[in-house]
Subunit: 131 residues, 2 copies
Protein backbone atom coordinates (compact mmCIF):
# COMPACT_ATOMS: atom_id res chain seq x y z
CA UNK A 1 0.00 0.00 0.00
CA UNK A 2 1.47 3.32 -1.08
CA UNK A 3 0.33 6.86 -1.74
CA UNK A 4 -0.85 5.65 -5.14
CA UNK A 5 -2.57 2.53 -3.79
CA UNK A 6 -4.99 4.07 -1.35
CA UNK A 7 -6.57 1.99 1.40
CA UNK A 8 -9.80 3.14 3.06
CA UNK A 9 -12.10 1.67 5.69
CA UNK A 10 -15.35 0.60 4.06
CA UNK A 11 -17.50 -1.26 6.60
CA UNK A 12 -17.52 -3.16 9.86
CA UNK A 13 -19.66 -6.28 9.95
CA UNK A 14 -21.78 -6.99 13.01
CA UNK A 15 -23.61 -10.31 13.35
CA UNK A 16 -27.15 -9.80 14.68
CA UNK A 17 -29.95 -12.11 15.79
CA UNK A 18 -32.83 -10.02 14.45
CA UNK A 19 -32.16 -7.60 11.61
CA UNK A 20 -35.32 -5.55 12.21
CA UNK A 21 -34.42 -5.11 15.89
CA UNK A 22 -30.84 -4.13 15.04
CA UNK A 23 -31.98 -1.65 12.37
CA UNK A 24 -34.43 -0.13 14.83
CA UNK A 25 -31.66 0.43 17.36
CA UNK A 26 -29.07 1.87 14.99
CA UNK A 27 -31.54 4.13 13.21
CA UNK A 28 -34.04 5.29 15.84
CA UNK A 29 -31.65 5.44 18.82
CA UNK A 30 -28.25 6.01 17.20
CA UNK A 31 -29.49 8.19 14.36
CA UNK A 32 -28.13 6.15 11.46
CA UNK A 33 -29.82 5.60 8.08
CA UNK A 34 -30.39 2.40 6.12
CA UNK A 35 -28.32 2.63 2.94
CA UNK A 36 -29.30 -0.77 1.58
CA UNK A 37 -31.04 -3.94 2.63
CA UNK A 38 -30.97 -7.35 0.96
CA UNK A 39 -32.16 -10.88 1.61
CA UNK A 40 -30.43 -14.00 0.32
CA UNK A 41 -33.04 -16.76 0.76
CA UNK A 42 -30.72 -19.53 -0.52
CA UNK A 43 -28.16 -18.65 2.16
CA UNK A 44 -30.85 -17.84 4.74
CA UNK A 45 -29.16 -14.51 5.43
CA UNK A 46 -30.41 -10.96 5.51
CA UNK A 47 -28.18 -7.93 5.63
CA UNK A 48 -28.40 -4.17 5.86
CA UNK A 49 -25.87 -1.40 5.53
CA UNK A 50 -26.56 1.28 8.14
CA UNK A 51 -24.49 4.36 8.80
CA UNK A 52 -24.09 8.08 9.01
CA UNK A 53 -24.46 10.83 6.46
CA UNK A 54 -26.27 11.46 3.23
CA UNK A 55 -24.89 10.28 0.85
CA UNK A 56 -23.44 7.36 2.83
CA UNK A 57 -20.19 8.12 4.63
CA UNK A 58 -17.84 5.15 4.92
CA UNK A 59 -17.26 3.24 7.02
CA UNK A 60 -20.68 1.95 7.96
CA UNK A 61 -22.05 -1.13 9.66
CA UNK A 62 -23.02 -4.21 7.72
CA UNK A 63 -25.60 -5.91 9.94
CA UNK A 64 -25.99 -9.60 9.07
CA UNK A 65 -28.75 -11.88 10.30
CA UNK A 66 -27.68 -15.42 9.42
CA UNK A 67 -30.49 -17.86 10.16
CA UNK A 68 -28.14 -20.82 9.81
CA UNK A 69 -26.43 -19.72 13.03
CA UNK A 70 -27.79 -20.93 16.35
CA UNK A 71 -26.13 -18.24 18.46
CA UNK A 72 -24.74 -14.79 17.87
CA UNK A 73 -21.05 -14.64 18.71
CA UNK A 74 -20.11 -11.69 20.86
CA UNK A 75 -17.52 -9.34 19.44
CA UNK A 76 -13.98 -9.91 20.65
CA UNK A 77 -13.41 -6.26 19.85
CA UNK A 78 -15.36 -3.06 20.24
CA UNK A 79 -16.29 -0.13 18.04
CA UNK A 80 -15.87 3.45 19.29
CA UNK A 81 -17.69 6.62 18.30
CA UNK A 82 -17.25 10.30 18.93
CA UNK A 83 -20.46 12.10 19.82
CA UNK A 84 -21.15 15.80 20.29
CA UNK A 85 -23.52 15.46 23.29
CA UNK A 86 -23.11 12.18 25.11
CA UNK A 87 -25.40 13.03 28.02
CA UNK A 88 -28.40 13.25 25.73
CA UNK A 89 -27.56 10.01 23.95
CA UNK A 90 -26.81 8.25 27.24
CA UNK A 91 -30.24 9.18 28.57
CA UNK A 92 -31.80 7.71 25.42
CA UNK A 93 -29.76 4.52 25.77
CA UNK A 94 -30.87 4.11 29.37
CA UNK A 95 -34.48 4.66 28.35
CA UNK A 96 -34.04 1.81 25.84
CA UNK A 97 -32.95 -0.45 28.68
CA UNK A 98 -29.57 -1.26 27.14
CA UNK A 99 -26.98 -2.99 29.29
CA UNK A 100 -24.31 -0.57 30.45
CA UNK A 101 -20.72 -1.84 30.76
CA UNK A 102 -19.27 1.45 32.05
CA UNK A 103 -21.69 4.19 33.10
CA UNK A 104 -21.32 7.75 31.92
CA UNK A 105 -18.24 9.23 33.59
CA UNK A 106 -16.13 12.32 33.21
CA UNK A 107 -12.84 11.92 31.34
CA UNK A 108 -9.53 13.52 32.29
CA UNK A 109 -9.94 15.89 29.32
CA UNK A 110 -13.22 17.21 30.75
CA UNK A 111 -15.37 15.27 28.31
CA UNK A 112 -17.50 12.21 28.95
CA UNK A 113 -17.34 8.53 28.13
CA UNK A 114 -19.36 5.35 28.56
CA UNK A 115 -19.53 1.81 27.23
CA UNK A 116 -22.81 0.05 26.43
CA UNK A 117 -23.80 -3.19 24.75
CA UNK A 118 -26.11 -3.08 21.77
CA UNK A 119 -29.09 -5.45 21.57
CA UNK A 120 -26.83 -8.27 20.36
CA UNK A 121 -24.28 -7.77 23.12
CA UNK A 122 -21.71 -5.95 20.98
CA UNK A 123 -19.70 -3.38 22.88
CA UNK A 124 -19.98 0.26 21.80
CA UNK A 125 -17.67 2.87 23.32
CA UNK A 126 -19.03 6.41 23.20
CA UNK A 127 -16.83 9.45 23.72
CA UNK A 128 -17.57 13.14 23.99
CA UNK A 129 -14.17 14.82 23.72
CA UNK A 130 -13.30 17.55 26.20
CA UNK A 131 -10.92 20.43 25.84
CA UNK B 1 -28.77 11.48 17.86
CA UNK B 2 -29.83 14.32 15.63
CA UNK B 3 -28.30 16.71 13.15
CA UNK B 4 -27.08 18.73 16.10
CA UNK B 5 -25.75 15.72 18.02
CA UNK B 6 -23.31 14.32 15.52
CA UNK B 7 -22.11 10.73 15.81
CA UNK B 8 -18.88 9.66 14.11
CA UNK B 9 -16.89 6.42 13.99
CA UNK B 10 -13.66 6.85 15.96
CA UNK B 11 -11.87 3.51 16.21
CA UNK B 12 -12.21 -0.24 15.98
CA UNK B 13 -10.40 -2.25 18.61
CA UNK B 14 -8.54 -5.39 17.61
CA UNK B 15 -7.08 -7.68 20.28
CA UNK B 16 -3.58 -8.87 19.30
CA UNK B 17 -1.09 -11.34 20.75
CA UNK B 18 2.06 -9.37 19.92
CA UNK B 19 1.79 -5.61 19.46
CA UNK B 20 5.11 -5.32 17.59
CA UNK B 21 4.07 -8.02 15.14
CA UNK B 22 0.65 -6.41 14.60
CA UNK B 23 2.17 -2.95 14.10
CA UNK B 24 4.63 -4.43 11.60
CA UNK B 25 1.78 -5.92 9.58
CA UNK B 26 -0.50 -2.90 9.58
CA UNK B 27 2.29 -0.42 8.82
CA UNK B 28 4.72 -2.24 6.53
CA UNK B 29 2.21 -4.38 4.61
CA UNK B 30 -1.03 -2.39 4.85
CA UNK B 31 0.58 1.06 4.70
CA UNK B 32 -0.82 2.47 7.94
CA UNK B 33 0.99 4.79 10.36
CA UNK B 34 1.35 4.60 14.13
CA UNK B 35 -0.52 7.58 15.60
CA UNK B 36 0.19 6.73 19.23
CA UNK B 37 1.54 3.94 21.36
CA UNK B 38 1.22 3.46 25.12
CA UNK B 39 2.01 0.86 27.74
CA UNK B 40 0.04 0.38 30.95
CA UNK B 41 2.32 -1.75 33.12
CA UNK B 42 -0.17 -1.99 36.01
CA UNK B 43 -2.79 -3.46 33.66
CA UNK B 44 -0.17 -5.44 31.70
CA UNK B 45 -1.55 -4.00 28.47
CA UNK B 46 0.05 -2.22 25.54
CA UNK B 47 -1.86 -0.44 22.84
CA UNK B 48 -1.28 1.41 19.62
CA UNK B 49 -3.51 3.47 17.38
CA UNK B 50 -2.68 2.71 13.73
CA UNK B 51 -4.47 4.06 10.71
CA UNK B 52 -4.50 5.99 7.50
CA UNK B 53 -3.72 9.58 6.64
CA UNK B 54 -1.67 12.43 8.01
CA UNK B 55 -3.02 13.86 10.25
CA UNK B 56 -4.88 10.77 11.49
CA UNK B 57 -8.13 10.04 9.68
CA UNK B 58 -10.78 8.41 11.84
CA UNK B 59 -11.65 5.67 12.23
CA UNK B 60 -8.45 3.83 12.96
CA UNK B 61 -7.48 0.58 14.63
CA UNK B 62 -6.74 0.39 18.33
CA UNK B 63 -4.47 -2.64 18.63
CA UNK B 64 -4.41 -3.99 22.19
CA UNK B 65 -1.95 -6.54 23.53
CA UNK B 66 -3.32 -7.66 26.90
CA UNK B 67 -0.82 -9.91 28.67
CA UNK B 68 -3.44 -11.01 31.19
CA UNK B 69 -5.22 -12.89 28.38
CA UNK B 70 -4.14 -16.43 27.62
CA UNK B 71 -5.64 -16.53 24.13
CA UNK B 72 -6.65 -14.01 21.52
CA UNK B 73 -10.36 -14.24 20.74
CA UNK B 74 -11.11 -14.31 17.04
CA UNK B 75 -13.36 -11.57 15.75
CA UNK B 76 -16.99 -12.53 15.35
CA UNK B 77 -17.16 -9.82 12.75
CA UNK B 78 -14.90 -8.58 9.97
CA UNK B 79 -13.58 -5.23 8.84
CA UNK B 80 -13.70 -4.27 5.15
CA UNK B 81 -11.51 -1.89 3.18
CA UNK B 82 -11.60 -0.33 -0.24
CA UNK B 83 -8.29 -0.40 -2.07
CA UNK B 84 -7.26 1.16 -5.37
CA UNK B 85 -5.10 -1.74 -6.62
CA UNK B 86 -5.94 -5.02 -4.93
CA UNK B 87 -3.75 -7.22 -7.13
CA UNK B 88 -0.61 -5.49 -5.89
CA UNK B 89 -1.67 -5.70 -2.26
CA UNK B 90 -2.78 -9.33 -2.66
CA UNK B 91 0.65 -10.28 -3.99
CA UNK B 92 2.22 -8.62 -0.94
CA UNK B 93 -0.15 -10.45 1.41
CA UNK B 94 0.71 -13.79 -0.19
CA UNK B 95 4.41 -13.00 0.11
CA UNK B 96 3.82 -12.43 3.84
CA UNK B 97 2.35 -15.92 4.09
CA UNK B 98 -1.00 -14.75 5.42
CA UNK B 99 -3.86 -17.22 5.53
CA UNK B 100 -6.33 -16.59 2.72
CA UNK B 101 -10.03 -17.17 3.42
CA UNK B 102 -11.22 -16.29 -0.09
CA UNK B 103 -8.61 -15.90 -2.82
CA UNK B 104 -8.56 -12.92 -5.15
CA UNK B 105 -11.55 -13.18 -7.46
CA UNK B 106 -13.31 -10.94 -9.92
CA UNK B 107 -16.50 -9.28 -8.73
CA UNK B 108 -19.69 -8.85 -10.75
CA UNK B 109 -18.86 -5.13 -11.06
CA UNK B 110 -15.56 -5.93 -12.77
CA UNK B 111 -13.49 -5.18 -9.69
CA UNK B 112 -11.73 -7.63 -7.39
CA UNK B 113 -12.22 -8.95 -3.89
CA UNK B 114 -10.56 -11.26 -1.39
CA UNK B 115 -10.67 -12.12 2.30
CA UNK B 116 -7.55 -12.76 4.37
CA UNK B 117 -6.79 -13.25 8.05
CA UNK B 118 -4.31 -10.93 9.73
CA UNK B 119 -1.58 -12.38 11.97
CA UNK B 120 -4.05 -12.69 14.85
CA UNK B 121 -6.69 -14.45 12.77
CA UNK B 122 -8.94 -11.42 12.32
CA UNK B 123 -10.79 -11.38 9.01
CA UNK B 124 -10.08 -8.51 6.62
CA UNK B 125 -12.20 -8.10 3.49
CA UNK B 126 -10.47 -6.19 0.70
CA UNK B 127 -12.37 -4.72 -2.24
CA UNK B 128 -11.26 -3.00 -5.41
CA UNK B 129 -14.45 -1.52 -6.84
CA UNK B 130 -15.20 -1.97 -10.52
CA UNK B 131 -17.23 0.17 -12.85
Amino acid sequence: VTSTNVLKFHHIMLPVADLDRAIDFYTRVMGMSVFSRKSFPAERTHNAMVGLGTPPVTPYFELIQDDTMTAIPKLANHVAFDIADLKTLYAALQKEGLTVKEPLAQRPDGGYGCRVYDRDGHELQLIQRGA
